[in-house]
Symmetry: C2
Subunit: 329 residues, 2 copies
Amino acid sequence: MLRVAVDVMGADKGVAPIVLGALEALKKREFEAILVGDESQISPLISNLPQNLKSRLSVRHCSDYIRMEDGATEALKRKDSSIYVATEIVKNGEADALVSPGHSGATMSLATMRIGRIKGISRPAICTLMPTTTAKPSMILDAGANTDCKSEYLVEFAIMGNEYATSVMGYENVRVGLLANGEEESKGNELTKEAFKLLKEYPFFIGNVESGDIFNGSTDVIVCDGFSGNLVLKAAEGVASAVSKILKDDIKSSPIKILGGILLKGSFANLKKKMDYAEYGGAPLLGVNKVVIISHGKSNERAIECAVYQALRALESKVCERIEKAFAK
Amino acid sequence: MLRVAVDVMGADKGVAPIVLGALEALKKREFEAILVGDESQISPLISNLPQNLKSRLSVRHCSDYIRMEDGATEALKRKDSSIYVATEIVKNGEADALVSPGHSGATMSLATMRIGRIKGISRPAICTLMPTTTAKPSMILDAGANTDCKSEYLVEFAIMGNEYATSVMGYENVRVGLLANGEEESKGNELTKEAFKLLKEYPFFIGNVESGDIFNGSTDVIVCDGFSGNLVLKAAEGVASAVSKILKDDIKSSPIKILGGILLKGSFANLKKKMDYAEYGGAPLLGVNKVVIISHGKSNERAIECAVYQALRALESKVCERIEKAFAK
């Protein structure tokens, strides 16, 4: 049975939503969960479980955890922190995959340094799923692990993204685009122009794409440096929340609009669900030897539940092995 | 009387909306307009004007114009193209400002090479106004003129943005932020970390800002390289149009939702107006010796009308002279 280690410490809303999200997944899918963190906080949340769940659940106690304000490098020294212990469990084979909504810099450092990179990978990348106007989400990588990149890194991101989209997402004929300031080959900055030349060799490469293409379903995998990826992601969040605020304020301005708002409640809920990061689980850290899912610090139960499913899908589709094979060529 | 040269050629929807937009502005404000382009296309649009408008309107005929698919460097050679002629008119003082919805690369090249940079400016920058949840738009520069930047350029953009926000927009205590992947000083890529050190000296600098801050009204001027600026701008457009499509499709799915949609028509119209680039005019090219407004290729009448107002405001507030003074220090 597949075993998923969940680091329950260090998320914005405390231990409860993380533990409850893992339990929810445990109810619906056959796997073993190892909760890593402060036992005194975890125990009350798992006291009255049915035997079927209890038998697939264990707790690994740690007395320490990395706070959001701590430096990522501290994680390598604090060996009793929940993320250190959770990483070790995955490293030594007691668990198959890691899910962590804690300090993402710490998770990346430990995954890279302790679990290790797949041979041929210069830098692991965060791969974030984005909503589109179609039924298929797009993927953007690197979404923030590497602020400054070399062109070769972008090629590695493209190969990893292609493997993930094919195996975990089940996409056929994956279209990988290079994020630039225009579609023509002549567009781009020094980094992307260099990367374009290298990417032309790959059959999955469809050329430069603009950031609007992330949301319209025309591209499956969008490759960029982690600084750009982060800008685009946060711009998307910012616009969605600005649009929602402007609309809400305007609707409040008249009784007829309020009635309209009530009738459209379902539409707004559907839109919210489509745009909700929680539904997409966490972001896999691609390029390390094991399945590592980095969840949002503000994760709710549903986000953790979905992140666990994502870890299971990644394990079942053997994405790490597939990436390893792709780079062995 | 202030004189504005309008290049009427090369926009996506042809000559008509550009000419009509200029006429609309002419009706509402006292200034002289010089329409530059193919006389045979312009004449039918201005045949039956009242004397009050006719006396403030002239046409400068050119037989050529730069197409969207032409290279920007061609503009320097094609001396009878509308943008070349319009730039020369501004250069030699026959007009005070230029508005062009044509090939933006050509406009930038000609403005930089023929009109010339303000002393102390390394690279002129495009300054684009962005909608926020507050009544005040924010400004992002560079929005696309310079894909690769040095840290000194970003400092120049900050100074120019501060002057524009103060004089043209009338903002007090302008807050200038540096676009990065996190607010802490330690965040950023090599370029922005270097720029951060230089910007710390300036009282208007509020530190790193994230791309969500462009839309929430917390920052007046957002400084970045032109590649990043373009990514963020197009992400914003992409998300707004994706949200609108998802919502529209969902509303169509039931009669009750359709009714809700009808009742909320006014709210959607207000939102659209708030997000509509046309209302914000064009994007000033800051750092050249004259007022140059680059309009969207898809500009409609309203966008050109607003771009003319923007040119007039820039002239009245003497923004070029103010930038010159700021760099003379």
